[in-house]
Amino acid sequence: MDRTTPTPAPQTRVEDVFAALIRWMNGAGVAWIFALMFLICADIAGRTLFARPIQAVPEIVAFSLVGCVFLQLAYAVQTHRLTHADVLLDYIRQRRPVAGLALQVAAAGMGCFVLSVIAIGAAPDFWRAFRTSEFTGVEGIYTLPIAPIKFVVVLGAVIAAVESLRQFLRRSASPAVPGQSARVLLAAIVLLGLLSLATALMQAAELGDQVIGVLTIVTVLVLIAFGVPIAVALLLIGYAGLALLKRDFGIATDTLSLAAQGTVAEYVFATVPLFVLMGLFVSVSEIGRDSFRAAQQVFGRIRGGLGVATVAANAVFAAITGISIASAAIFAKIAVPEMVARGYTARFAVGLTAGSSVLGMLIPPSLLLIIYGVIAEVSIGALFIAAILPGIILAAALAIGVLLMAWLWPEFVGEISADAGDGDSATVRGFLWAVFPVLLLILLVLGGIYGGIFTPTEAGAAGALAAMCLALIKRRLSWPGLWDVIRETGQVTVTILFLIISASTFSRMLTLTGLPADMAGYLGGSGLGLAGFLAGYLLLLIVLGTVLDSTSILLILLPLALPVVGELGGNLIWFGIVTVIGVEIGLLTPPLGLSVYVIKSTLDDDTISLGAIFSGAFPFVLITLAVTVLLMAFPSLSLIFL
């Protein structure tokens, strides 16, 4: 141990080679995602133009997603991209640097453990697939070998586990706590030892299934609060819970491997990379900004008009994107600087941008509605239609909120002049020219979906390709720019899909405890009625929304809630709409608010703190909550077009 130099030891040659391997694997995963876009578009074109569909596309895409996640996983671990809540961790790091660092080192140890378990479970599976030439598909139509994907899973898990181990051993030597690396490492090992001891004690105590269920939920919340990456916490506790419930570590290991390979191997999950890709192309091509400026010239004359323009532009963009974080990323770049330049406070500008990003997943197309449709087994098309009016209502409520606050609460909104127009008065032609590309994209995506050219899942690929073409036509896409866009797409994809895998593992374990089924039985049999159940459900959505991401909440809560709703006579389409808007409130609430995090990282401005964005978004949380209650009270608002 070196007590004189506070800087960590330089990387060894082996570590350099290892880092290069991780970068290379990441690049392969990124390129693979990009290729999927072309493959899906080729299938659409083949089917539509030549009556020659590529039969294997859904399965190729499904298995590719698994491959992409595991190719890029080590890079996400290396660059600390796995989503984690750092509010409490930051506090501890400031007050007790040794303890804070020990927590991070322990988290790396946990990551190493769960990734090793996945590798151990997947390795024999790969070997069998290889030995027996296992395939998917139908002989005589098409067959795809499975072994290569299983190999990528094992390789990716091993490399990511080794990277976690490297962090476990290396991070204790931090300049923040010079000369204390032994203490940090010891503290981390003690922490991990305590967790193992707790598991062993619980196993010896032969606890009831429900007790195990409650304890695992509490433990996950504690780990997440202390900054353990959410995916790692869910996988670790999911694994421990499975082992306790099944009284068999082998089953727990195999289940982790099964979840890692099976969860995201579905065509619909391709919407994650594809809609992110499309959103980023819209951003780099600056057609989003152009149409925003056009809208500003229409609304800019009213007090608070630019805020209304932000809401309106978000609503329009929502019609072509499936995920809210794409909206947050784009409007953080476009709307925030424009608003601040015109006298709005930064707090209001970022808060409004976060708040109106919620529209992205309410107004169709919407990834959350797709996920809901798959879990609830209801028509995704019907969900999309049902979401239109609620989306417009939320947009209107946000706009009215902006106007009222601009009038009644100027110290929050800022000293804005009513005459915000800057002279270059908009001609009708100029306006149309500015919004034309975005309108074209919307027409293409919506027309394609409702005109029978492609499914909502495929729409992401068509939209991404079209947005890329627009960016090329506008000469706003260079080779390095293109690589940046697809690399960022890859990292968002691996983060979200790995979260979905881990949330699925945890919810499988929770299913085995019987806790969800018993709670559903309790809620259903408690005579609460639909209104009482909805109140409890909304509360649960908000509470879980503070610490979990939207998809995880849906996967955990829906199997519990759906039978109850059915029993109480609620319409499952309407329930999908109120679920999605309710769950999206979590995008804006601390400690884990994904939209807020995206805005923070996109802006990259030290003067705007995370706290400022959360507090700026709070009025919009209240508005969204009010609209949710309104939609719950009046199901006809969601079902009017059905």
């Binding site: 089917r47 009556a51 020659r52 569909p53 039969q55 596309v57 859904p58 027996t132 030439s133 296992e134 395939f135 998917t136 598909g137 139908v138 002989e139 005589g140 139509i141 067959t143 499975i146 299934d209 099944k246 068999d248 082998g250 089953i251 195999d254 289940t255 099964l258 099976g262 969860t263 191997a265 579905e266 449709g373 798959v374 879990i375 087994e377 028509s379 995704i380 098309g381 979906i449 409702y450 005109g451 029978g452 050219i453 492609f454 499914t455 909502p456 919810s507 499988r508 299913t511 085995l512 019987g514 969800p516 089924a517 199997p559 039978p563």
Partner: protein, 332 residues
């Protein structure tokens, strides 16, 4: 003494092959054990609806013991369990599901290779499951095979081969995507089972139903993890073996009843139902290539006795008094 067992299914209990586990196997197991004066009892944990595992993993979930008992969809296991897919490669043999289930439960006892296929996946088949005969649902009226020329018909997996020779284009999909694909025009029709299509309201978007009768299908069954099985005392094993046969019969009767209800309901709700004329059906059958022969060749290359099974299956069908509309075991 009590045994903690998990019963699972990758789909909702509204589907007969899942629902009958819940309504028959779980309550009957303890009732029969008690009635026989057994000192053993099962403490059940139910996990249906895909919350424990998804349909793609129904085989693995029982294999690894994530669930002790579960419905396994062998139809999705073309690589691991080709023998259990034989009916999908022999269309137009029989529409009689109950006969088919009984026949396959018997074949699993008389032909060791069939039971062996389950053992290799660390499980034991308790009772076969299946679906009603396949028909055609379209957005346009069909009177002759020529009406299908160039049309996009949803036919996932092996059912795509049933369209060979008709001039239709097979499009991939699943029960949960059919409605959207048909309503938007991504597809013009679907080859499907009425008992499954009715709850998904497919007849609203494809109101022309042509009764073709491509055949009932054996699609998998109720299976138990092999290690769990070996842990159970003989009287519990005997109860499950008996329940397996009952599972097949009740499931088959439920599917047939659902089929009859669906057939009546779609007509009440405005769909047009016609039976494909015999000579047109004959044209369809004769136009099919040697699907079974291709399947036998591919499976035998991988070491599975598919030819032996095909002959045993066709012989058993004839033994039960059914004359298959095409003799797949006597390729011309």
């Amino acid at each position: 003494e009590s045994f903690r067992l998990t019963a699972g299914g990758p789909q909702s209990a509204s589907l007969p092959w899942i629902g009958v586990i819940q309504t028959l196997v779980i309550p009957e197991s303890n009732r029969r054990l008690a009635a026989a004066g057994s000192e053993h009892e099962i403490v059940w944990r139910e996990a249906f609806g895909g919350s424990l595992y998804k349909w793609q993993n129904s085989l693995e979930a029982v294999e690894i013991g994530l669930t002790d008992i579960g419905w396994v969809g062998a139809l999705w296991e073309t690589s691991k369990m080709p023998l259990q897919n034989v009916t999908y490669y022999t269309p137009f043999v029989t529409d009689d599901l109950l006969l088919l289930l009984d026949l396959f439960n018997d074949l699993h006892e008389s032909m060791p290779a069939l039971a062996q296929a389950w053992h290799e996946q660390n499980q034991i088949l308790l009772g076969a499951s299946g679906v009603d005969t396949y028909h055609l649902m379209t957005t346009f009226p069909v009177t002759t095979i020529d009406d299908l020329e160039g049309r996009k018909i949803l036919a996932p997996g092996p059912s795509a081969t049933w369209l060979e020779g008709t001039g239709a284009v097979a499009v991939n999909g699943g029960l949960s995507t059919y409605y959207t694909q048909l309503s938007t025009g991504v597809a013009d029709g679907v080859l499907t089972i009425l008992s499954g299509a009715y709850p998904y309201r497919i007849h609203e978007v494809a109101p022309y139903i042509t009764l073709v009768g491509i055949g009932a299908q054996f699609n998998g069954g109720l299976a138990i993890n092999k290690e769990t099985w070996e842990r159970l005392p003989p009287d519990v094993q005997a109860t499950f073996a008996e329940l397996g046969r009952d599972y097949s019969r009740t499931m088959g009767e439920t599917v047939v009843a659902r089929y009859e209800q669906a057939l009546a309901a779609v007509q009440e709700e405005g769909a047009t139902v016609v039976t494909l004329a015999d000579d047109e059906k004959r044209r369809w059958i004769n136009g099919l290539p040697d699907i079974a022969g291709r399947w036998v060749a591919a499976a035998e290359r991988r070491g599975h006795p598919a030819g032996e099974l095909l002959r045993a299956y066709m012989a058993a069908v004839r033994e039960r008094g059914v004359e298959p509309l095409r003799d797949w075991d006597r390729a011309e």
